[in-house]
């Protein structure tokens, strides 16, 4: 029977990636000289699993590579070798290498590479250094394991074997029957039982073995094959082998009395030739030119996990889904029954309405449940950072530790995948520019070890991710100067410090004088902001000179669905995200004040809400222009409240967000589009975009500018 092993590949690859993550995060907890056996054992087991699986499923390059890694780890956990920082570095590099190899399998590319071979040799050198014997032993075993088949020899041998199991044999689960069957497979057997050792009934222990056997074997198999049959019971029996005769091809009888001691298979004599052949193999391998992997991640240090097309889902989420579908089926049956009614009356109409409400409820629940399937803990993204921080801080000669909070906070898988790069950039930026070298920190009275903190939590319908460092903070005056040089602001513009700091997100802005290898590669903060905006999110910075900086990323929990309020503006229908709506009201004219420049504000309780005339911003001249004829929808964005003047409110419902940018481009004041029930397209407003469009907010400014006339903006 042949079994297709490829059905298990994906599981193997997934669990190997996980194993590598575990190895990496545990390795980062180790210091040279550490003897924490639990950690080392965990790392060893992970490597061991990968080696075992890769060998079983035929990924020999990975198996060979992991073999040396595992061997080193084994020595360390046995106490045979002390853990040095060289080992930790090599092991970390090997993890990257293995990630690359797994990736290669997924992409159908060759697994071998120069890096892998070079790394493997580095391991080998270390291993060869002090334990020559051990590695030789391994090679011997590797090769001897394959010597299982009976040599199709031409020499017919006749053996006499005496097999006397020790009393406890059965307690090993072994059975003489297995042995006899195996011997029978090698040739012709005659078996004679010896009953002389059986004690009297009163002394007989039913679980003990008292029999022994004399076996005659006529076989073409060689000695090692015969001994292999007894391999499992070597220690549990007394065995003697006698070669009685050998008949070779020419039918010549060679009578030799060849007796051997019953000792375990000693093939030390076989070591030399086998080692030689194994080594010959290895040297020829390195002469073969190897293709370099197309994705080399060794120098980068960043984990290169390819977006896998599968998701692990907790069974609780699946159970919840199943329940919901069950309820949906019930509702459907009920509605179906109603639909089959002969006649319709008021009672049935009421039942129909109820059924539809139930359907709406079910659908919503189901939808939420399905969304949750795609939600994963942010730890998947956070987990790459300890390694990143370690590698970069080493490169920069800075001492940095990383703290992570809220790793279990969940967010949509796609959002998370797209969040990874911007976060990496922000963290690199903190390490590169924010955190000071140890001497500077000490001089400033700080702990010489700087801290980068990643914090994630839910707030409303959003997830907030903070990247906090306790470094020197943003250099506001340098930013200001650069902004003036680049024409982003005028030299005499008055801006608050935080407004200046926000300028770093403007395109074409970079204060990296030297092109540092890490952050100054032309991938500026503006790209970070753009990437996050593309996820319908926002990014801000808050900084304290000498104390540190905090970058805050706000993202909606899911990309695809939005709860919205339909509003009309003349003949146009727009959607306002429900989560931003504070309240909707009719304007009381006596509460409206004009603050000059054409801007009106509404006094609402103890606040002043600027009134944005949407029809003006959007140039829809068939809409209501009089304040008391329309409705004001008070919305909030980035802690700013404004009122949007619309004609009327229509329904509130859920919408599937469609991209306007995909086929068109970014439109100021619009965040996306959706398809309404009648098939027409409706645009979704972007509150902060509208505020900017109204000129109430200059790029980077915080707090609304009531002095800017509206007419200048449009």
């Amino acid at each position: 029977m042949s079994i297709d092993l490829s059905q298990f590949y994906e599981v193997f690859i997934d669990e190997s990636y996980e194993g590598l993550e575990i190895m990496e995060s545990e390795l980062l907890h180790l210091e040279p000289g550490d003897v924490d056996s639990e950690i080392i054992n965990t790392i060893f087991r992970a490597a061991h699993s990968i080696k075992g699986g890769s060998g079983t499923f035929g990924f020999m390059a990975i198996a060979d590579f992991t073999h040396v890694v595992e061997t080193l780890l084994d020595q360390i956990r046995n106490g045979e070798r002390e853990l040095e920082s060289l080992h930790i570095d090599l092991l970390l590099k090997s993890i990257d290498c293995l990630r690359g190899m797994l990736n290669a399998i997924q992409n159908d590319e060759p697994q071998e590479s120069e890096e892998a071979e070079s790394l493997r040799q580095q391991f080998q050198t270390i291993l060869d250094g002090s334990t020559q014997k051990a590695s030789q032993m391994e090679e011997k075993v590797v090769d001897s394991a394959t010597v299982e088949q009976i040599e199709p020899g031409s020499v017919d041998s006749i053996w006499q074997i005496h097999f006397a199991p020790l009393p406890h044999l059965f307690r090993t689960g072994n059975e003489p029957l297995f042995i006899f069957e195996d011997l029978a497979a090698l040739g012709d057997v005659t078996i004679t039982a010896e009953l002389d050792s059986i004690p009297g009934l009163s002394e007989l222990h039913p679980e003990d073995s008292y029999l022994s056997w004399l076996i005659g074997l006529d076989t073409k198999a060689d000695e090692s094959a015969i001994k292999e049959v007894f391999e499992w019971v070597e220690d549990d029996a007394t065995i003697s082998y006698k070669l009685i005769a050998q008949i070779d091809d020419l039918n010549q009888l060679n009578a030799e009395d060849y007796e051997q001691d019953p000792e375990p298979l000693d093939s030390n004599s076989n070591v030399e030739p086998m080692v030689a052949s194994a080594q010959a193999e290895k040297s020829s391998k390195s002469e073969i030119s190897v293709k370099t992997m197309t994705k080399s991640k060794l120098t980068d240090g960043a984990s290169a996990k390819v977006d896998s097309s599968s998701i692990r889902v907790g069974t609780d989420k699946v159970d919840s889904l199943i329940n919901m579908v069950g309820e949906l089926v019930i509702t459907q049956a009920m509605l179906n029954e109603l639909g089959e009614a002969e006649e319709f009356n008021q009672e049935k109409l009421l039942a129909l309405r109820e059924g539809l409400a139930q359907l709406s409820h079910n659908t919503r629940d189901l939808q939420e449940s399905v969304m949750r399937i795609r939600m994963l803990p942010i730890n998947f993204v956070f987990s790459r950072f300890p390694r990143l921080v370690r590698d970069i801080s080493q490169k920069l000669d800075k001492k940095v530790e990383i703290k992570m909070l809220g790793e279990q906070t969940e967010l949509d898988k796609t959002v998370m995948e797209k969040l990874s790069d911007p976060m990496v950039h922000l963290v690199r930026n903190s390490l590169d520019h924010g955190l000071e070298p140890p001497e500077e920190r000490i001089a400033a009275g700080k702990n010489e070890i700087g801290t980068v903190t990643l914090n994630a939590y839910h707030q409303g319908g959003n997830i907030i991710i903070e990247i906090i460092d306790d470094g020197r903070g943003l250099n506001t005056s340098k930013i200001r100067d650069k902004a003036v040089t680049n024409g982003l602001i005028h030299a005499d513009d008055e801006l608050s410090d935080s407004e200046i700091n926000e300028l770093i997100f403007q395109p074409g802005f970079s204060t990296a004088d030297e092109v540092s290898d890490l952050s100054g590669r032309g991938v500026g903060m503006d790209v970070v902001k753009r990437n996050i905006n593309a996820l319908n999110g926002t990014v801000d910075v808050d900084s304290s000179p000498g104390k540190g900086s905090t970058f805050t990323i706000r993202l909606p929990l899911t990309l695809a669905i939005l709860d919205g309020q339909l509003v009309t503006l003349g003949s146009n229908v727009y959607i306002i995200p429900l989560v931003s709506i504070v309240e909707s009201l009719q304007i009381e004219m006596n509460k409206v004040n004009s603050v000059g420049g054409g801007l009106d504000v509404l006094r609402l309780r103890d606040e002043y809400i600027p009134i944005l005339r949407l029809y003006e911003l959007f140039n829809h001249h068939d809409a209501q222009k009089k304040l008391d004829n329309g409705l004001l929808v008070v919305v909030e964005s980035d802690n700013e409240k404004v009122g949007l003047l619309v004609d009327d409110l229509l329904a509130q419902q859920q919408f599937v967000i469609k991209s306007l940018e995909a086929n068109y481009k970014k439109v100021d004041g619009i965040s996306g589009a959706t398809i309404l029930g009648d098939g027409s397209v409706s645009l979704i407003v972007d509150i902060s975009g509208l505020i900017q469009l109204a000129g109430l907010k200059k790029a980077g400014r915080q707090g609304l500018d009531f002095n800017k006339p509206l007419s200048e903006a449009v």
């Binding site: 079994i3 092993l5 079983t56």
Partner: protein, 120 residues
């Protein structure tokens, strides 16, 4: 139908072993570590046990020792999955009471040959 208990912390290995043995007509129960296997064993009988050595919580060697204390498992064939570099593991396993071993990596046919031998 013969019952087999398969123990390995690697999901892909368990899948492969299970699939191979089930296809050959065995009833297979899985466990992902020694402790889980032992808990299962305390409650059921099996014709063969096949277990990896390196596992968290309770490793293979300890599992064998513990199994042999159970009356139902005194004579049950218990096979260890070892890798080539584990000659000492083989000895340890035997000392603990294991019946024999299967060397990793192995292919489905090799697995079946051994299982068929001991499952009588």
């Amino acid at each position: 139908m013969k019952k087999i208990l398969a123990v390995d912390d690697s999901a892909s290995m368990r899948q492969m072993v299970c699939f191979t043995l089930k296809k050959a007509g065995f009833a297979v129960t899985e466990a992902k570590d020694g402790q889980e296997a032992f808990d299962i064993a305390k409650a059921s009988q099996f014709d063969v046990v096949i277990s990896d050595v390196n596992m968290p919580i309770m490793d293979g060697i300890t599992l064998v020792q513990n199994l042999r204390t159970l009356p139902d498992f005194k004579f049950t064939p218990i096979l260890m999955l070892t890798t080539e570099s584990g000659t000492d593991k083989k000895t340890e396993g035997k000392a603990a009471g294991a019946t024999g071993w299967i060397v990793k990596p192995f292919n489905p046919d090799q697995l079946l040959a051994v299982i068929n031998k001991v499952a009588r």
